[in-house]
């Protein structure tokens, strides 16, 4: 019992493996004789184990998907013009046949909005930019589960999942000016 008692610091250093072999041996010998010090050492070891648990369950990084706005706009613009063209052709080809007697009363305004709405409900391409290589796997998987198009920085090696009509994006994600968290 002549040896000095453990301090929290020395116990911590021992657990971290920062003590020299001699001082570690002294400390160990002391804990065999001194019960409070043994308990202190156990507490530190327990804390160390708990910290491992904390570290391992800590979410790796905040996952962020960034809708590439320029791409969305381009696709949306394409979709809109396609819709308009389709509506126009529908109006031109079908309606005159259906209502042959009143070709002049065909109001394209009455048909086009419905077609446009339909088209906007259709799947949109959303590019997910994975933040970095370290989180790419989980990010791509999360995006894939949502039916988003995953673009791999390595080029065309990634699978391109089929995307569904409902992407399940957070509200306002597409119009957001800043990256939106999943």
């Amino acid at each position: 019992m002549l040896k000095p008692h453990l301090t929290r610091d020395s116990a911590e250093q021992y657990i971290l493996g920062a003590l020299s072999p001699e001082s570690a041996a002294t400390l160990e010998a002391h804990t065999l004789e001194c019960e409070p010090c043994a308990r202190l050492l156990q507490e530190e070891a327990l804390l160390s184990e708990q910290l491992q648990e904390v570290a391992q369950s800590f979410p790796p990084e905040v996952r962020v998907i960034r809708p590439a706005r320029w791409h969305v706009r381009r696709v949306a613009a394409g979709a809109v013009s396609a819709a308009l063209a389709a509506a126009a052709s529908l109006a031109l080809v079908l309606l005159p046949g259906g209502r042959g007697s009143h070709p002049s009363t065909v109001v394209s305004g009455g048909v086009a909005p419905a077609a446009l709405e339909l088209e906007l409900d259709a799947p949109r391409a959303i590019v997910v930019a994975c933040p970095d290589l370290a989180t790419q796997d989980s990010c791509a998987q999360a995006a894939e589960e949502r039916g988003l198009l995953v673009q791999s920085p390595l080029g065309t090696t990634g699978n391109v999942p089929r995307y569904e009509a409902r992407t399940g994006l957070p509200e306002g994600a597409l119009s957001a000016r800043r990256p939106v968290s999943l």
């Binding site: 610091d9 971290l16 904390v54 990084e61």
Partner: protein
């Protein structure tokens, strides 16, 4: 995706800041896997390397269970001996460290406690195993598991820590058992500084974990 991801899996554990140094980082986990494979093949040097890397963690886990220091060292030795024995008998198909070693050590500790209790039942009160174990092991076993609340509080506290300190902590404690020297090399700090950071983070998290028990 699989081809790309397999290539990338090597980089998953590396710190964000060190992305530009991809080459040396990639080598390590591959090295770890190769070590485990060689150990499964009966390579003694590979076993030695694995034991050197994970021994401390095994000892600490035993200490946390309330095993005395000297007994903890013995049980840790026996843990490795058992694992090597199992490998030699061809009973090991997979070597996931440190988890396998921790499980084996926990089993040995429980077995040890049972045996010493049985032996001392006819003995004097002084020789009861409670005298050997400073704290009731069942209590510590309960305390080992963190509650959801504690965990989320610890995560919140960890989120408050500076990113570089958090990075050091996560590297050192994520279960890979990186030696502090290697953590230091990865983040470009001295070993001394790494330990200092670990102690600081530890203090913060201890406070976060203890809040509930005092409340």
């Amino acid at each position: 995706m699989s081809a790309a991801v397999q290539g990338l899996r090597m980089t998953l554990r590396m710190p964000k800041e060190a992305e530009e140094r991809v080459e040396p980082e990639v080598a390590r986990p591959a090295d770890e896997d190769a070590l485990a494979r060689r150990a499964l093949g009966g390579d003694r040097a590979a076993w030695d390397a694995l034991v050197a890397r994970h021994h401390r963690r095994v000892v600490v886990s035993l200490l946390a269970r309330g095993v005395r220091v000297d007994r903890a060292h013995e049980l840790a030795q026996e843990t490795w001996a058992r694992l090597i024995q199992q490998q030699q008998r061809g009973l090991l198909t997979e070597l996931r460290l440190p988890n396998l070693a921790l499980t084996q050590a926990a089993f040995l500790a429980a077995d040890d406690a049972r045996r010493s209790r049985r032996e001392s039942i006819s003995g004097a009160v002084e020789e009861l195993p409670e005298r050997q174990h400073p704290v009731d092991p069942s209590v510590s076993a309960e305390r080992r598991l963190l509650s959801e609340e504690q965990l989320s509080r610890a995560h919140a506290a960890l989120a408050q820590v500076s990113p570089s300190a958090r990075n050091v902590f996560l590297l050192a404690c994520d279960g890979q058992e990186l030696p502090h020297a290697e953590v230091a090399a990865r983040v470009g700090l001295s070993v001394q500084r790494v330990r200092q950071i670990l102690c600081e983070v530890r203090k913060k998290l201890r406070t976060a974990l203890e809040e509930e028990t005092h409340a």
